[in-house]
């Protein structure tokens, strides 16, 4: 079968066998959940409840007036114990609503089914998505309602559903596609309606042949194309996926809107379908708990606000020697100092393993591997040097801000140089400088 792909990229070990055959199963709701008010890209939400309030499952407990934000909902029914700063997987502690679970899962009465969700108008779909607090579930947690509101002067013709799951180890999206194909495709159709696009393309890496065959058999009555992509990292990076499927290049610094495309992850469109058809806000998500440090790896559906520790315990705990804990995939995931952090909407995986001894760092020998693997067409080693030396304007003019931090360069660097780290440092310095200038 001919598969599509993008330029450059790498082939890391997949290590997906541990969980790719394991069905999604619910993680029992813990006794208390810690729901951060800021889990998304944009402004934090303000709490709508206070200490002592009774809340119901699916009840909105946080909201922001800003367009660039997402509301948060209770993932259990029970009582608000307190609202306080709590550990957060993205770094600094943020205010979180802590709810003690009464174990009854009493559903918020406003949650009602829609008889005919596909007949709703775009405005209504966007409103439901916004009220359901849906964000991109691929990991970036960009508010979905914003993505469904393309600017008037940028017509959208194609919806791309990202089923690549190109990060090694993770298999939750794979399982979602196998177990909930109808919900995903119908959710994609809702996105198409909301944006006025003509067609939907579902991109799947060819290591998920079972999904491809299943969907081919289904014969959906939607303008849907299912496209097999080469198994290559980072196939699921938005701009690379668009270039692989449509041969369109998103302009530097631009968004998929600019080339008439909206990209949504499979988990996100399933959440959209759940919200529009069943009225269910985003209070749980699918994720993979895996890695050599996890005793019995699983794919779980986890209530937002469960602790990493809850999920790890349910998977048999940590193996001896596991000394690194990562949220997300091994290529772009964030290392966590502790398992005492809540699962948030952007948690696509909880991984643990024993990290090998630190690798020896050598001088750059200009082998050019980073250049030949960079999916963005950058020269990482040069940018690294500029960043190190503080030559920020040079770095910027050579595209440091185009770096998506996928890690292909560092993965393949024989000198063991922390390239992504240095590029991040450079990007932060440039952003800071701009902020100061505009202030």
């Amino acid at each position: 079968m001919k598969t599509k792909t993008f330029h450059n990229g790498i082939h890391p070990q997949e290590l997906k066998e541990a969980t790719s055959n394991k069905s999604l199963q619910p993680l029992p709701a813990p006794e208390k959940v810690i729901i951060p008010l800021h889990q998304h890209f944009g402004s934090p939400a303000e709490p709508l409840v206070k200490k002592g309030d009774e809340v119901l499952m699916g009840q909105k407990i946080g909201e922001s007036k800003s367009f660039f934000s997402a509301c948060v909902h209770a993932s259990v029914s029970g009582k608000v114990i307190k609202i306080e700063n709590y550990n957060h997987p993205l770094g600094n502690p943020v205010p979180a609503v802590i709810i003690s679970n009464d174990g009854e899962d009493r559903i918020f009465p406003d949650i009602k089914e829609h008889k005919d969700p596909l007949s709703l108008n775009p405005e209504k779909i966007r409103q439901i998505v916004k009220d359901a607090g849906i964000v991109g579930l691929g990991g970036a947690a960009f508010p979905t309602a914003v993505k469904l509101s393309p600017p008037k002067d940028k017509p959208i013709d194609t919806i791309i559903i990202n089923g690549c799951e190109c990060e090694p180890v993770l298999t939750a999206d794979h399982r979602l596609m196998l177990e909930y194909p109808d919900d995903i495709i119908k959710g994609a159709e809702l996105v198409r309606i909301a944006t006025g696009a003509e067609k939907i393309i579902l991109g799947i890496e060819n290591n998920k042949q079972d999904v491809y065959k299943l969907l081919q058999k289904k014969n959906y009555a939607f303008p849907l194309e299912i496209s097999l992509l080469k198994t290559k990292y980072p196939q699921g990076a938005e701009k690379n996926l668009i270039s692989a499927l449509l041969k369109r290049a998103v302009p530097r610094g631009g968004l998929p809107f600019d080339v008439g495309v909206v990209v949504q992850n499979v988990g996100t469109v399933k959440a959209i379908w759940d919200a529009v058809a069943a009225g269910k806000p985003l209070y749980e998500r699918a994720l993979t708990v895996s890695g050599a440090g996890i005793t019995s790896p699983k794919n779980l559906i986890v209530r937002i606000g469960s602790l990493f520790q809850n999920a790890i315990d349910y998977c048999g705990g940590l193996q001896d020697g596991a000394n690194i804990l990562v949220m997300g995939g091994p290529m772009m995931g964030l290392a966590q100092g502790t398992a005492d952090v809540p699962v948030i909407k952007g948690t696509s995986g909880i991984l643990a393993w024993a990290e090998p001894e630190q690798i020896t760092e050598y001088n750059c020998i200009s082998c050019g591997r980073c250049v030949s693997y960079c999916p963005m067409g950058l020269v990482p080693t040069q940018l690294m040097k500029y960043s190190k030396l503080g030559y920020l304007s040079e770095a910027e003019s050579r595209g440091i801000m185009d770096c998506v931090e996928c890690g292909s360069c560092q993965y393949s660097c024989p000198a063991g140089i922390p390239l992504v780290h240095w590029l991040r440092v450079g990007k932060h310095k440039i952003t800071d400088l701009k902020r100061k200038k505009s202030a």
Binding site: V250, R252, M331, L334, S366, V371, G416
Partner: protein, 324 residues
């Protein structure tokens, strides 16, 4: 707040298996056939020159690492050994041993550490050492002995390229047979005579992806075209492209010297320009220059362009209208 139980580090958390020592040792392995061939053709002299050159390089490297307070693990990254081997391979087998040591010390000192050590050097260190010797000891560096397997006419012995240039061998129809060039049964530098042994190692390097294929391909193509044009216009005056490819230091230069990662361009386009420049210069020097051979100077000259090439041949960024 609980204490951190886990390592905190920035992504990516997975790392490929490639490493600097792995690349360097692949190069060393790839040189083994050619080194073996030089033992066969030049016996004990070869062994002594290799040993002295490599040990002098390692000792010089160690002294510099120590003096510059650099991590000592760099001594065994393989790069100093490669410099020692490559330098030895480009020396005449008859060279006196103290000159070998001088060449090795100069290679590491002026070729590498004055610029900051591995990764920061502009020129191929082994070629810097060789160029120094060529200037400092011109007679010793151009006195040739025949291989022990080919004991003829020692008094006026010359390399095949020397024959071509100074004895007008092409006109007299006395060019060294291609068969001898291929197997290495000829006079010349220690490790450059046997084309077959070098090509064996080069194939291994290409398979291991330890060198950029564009560089040898570019050099060989342009030299073939350049010498081919002259040969077609005057086959009685000029040697054939096949002769030029097999003679002298072309193969060792194109596959093992010009491909030195540190001193060759990063981007594919840069590599093509660099390779074409080297091939063209070799052709010009061999056909019209004062020296019979031009590989060393051509590579050193093009090394100087690498920073410039890196600056102006960066790849197109995804979504960029046109590269500046």
């Amino acid at each position: 707040m609980t204490n951190n139980r886990f390592i905190l580090k920035s992504s990516p958390h997975f790392k490929g298996k490639d490493s600097v020592p792995k690349i360097m040792y692949a190069v060393i392995v790839s040189l083994i056939p050619a080194i073996a061939a030089s033992f066969y053709f030049f016996r004990m002299r070869a062994l002594l020159i290799y040993l002295l050159s490599v040990s002098a390089c390692l000792i010089t490297e160690a002294v510099f690492l120590k003096a510059r307070k650099k991590p000592m693990h760099s001594l065994w990254d393989g790069s100093a050994i490669i410099t020692g081997l490559l330098l030895a391979m480009t020396l005449p087998p008859s060279l006196s041993l103290e000159i070998v040591v001088i060449g090795a010390v100069v290679s590491i000192t002026l070729g590498k550490h004055v610029f900051g050590g591995l990764g920061d050097n502009i020129f191929n260190p082994a070629l810097v050492g060789r160029a120094f010797l060529q200037v400092a000891f011109p007679v010793a560096m151009t006195t040739w002995i025949p291989p022990v397997t080919n004991q003829i006419n020692t008094a006026t012995y010359a390399t095949p390229l020397g024959n071509l240039k100074f004895q007008t061998a092409a006109i007299q129809g006395a060019l060294t047979p291609l068969k001898d060039l291929f197997w290495g049964n000829i006079g010349g530098c220690l490790g450059e005579t046997s084309a077959v042994a070098l090509l064996l190692g080069a194939a291994f390097l290409l398979y291991k992806r330890a060198i950029d294929w564009r560089i040898p391909v570019g050099i060989i193509s342009i030299l073939t075209v350049f010498t081919g044009i002259f040969w077609l216009t005057g086959p009685d005056k000029y040697a054939s492209p096949a002769f030029h490819l097999l003679a002298g230091g072309l193969i060792i230069g194109a596959f093992f010297m010009a491909t030195d990662m540190v001193t060759s361009p990063i981007s594919p386009l840069g590599a093509w320009i660099y390779a074409l420049g080297i091939g063209l210069l070799i052709g010009i020097i061999r056909l019209f220059g004062g020296f019979p051979e031009g590989v060393m100077f051509s590579i050193l000259l093009m090394n100087t362009f690498v920073p410039l090439l890196n600056r102006y041949t960066r790849p197109r960024i995804l979504g960029e209208r046109s590269a500046p």
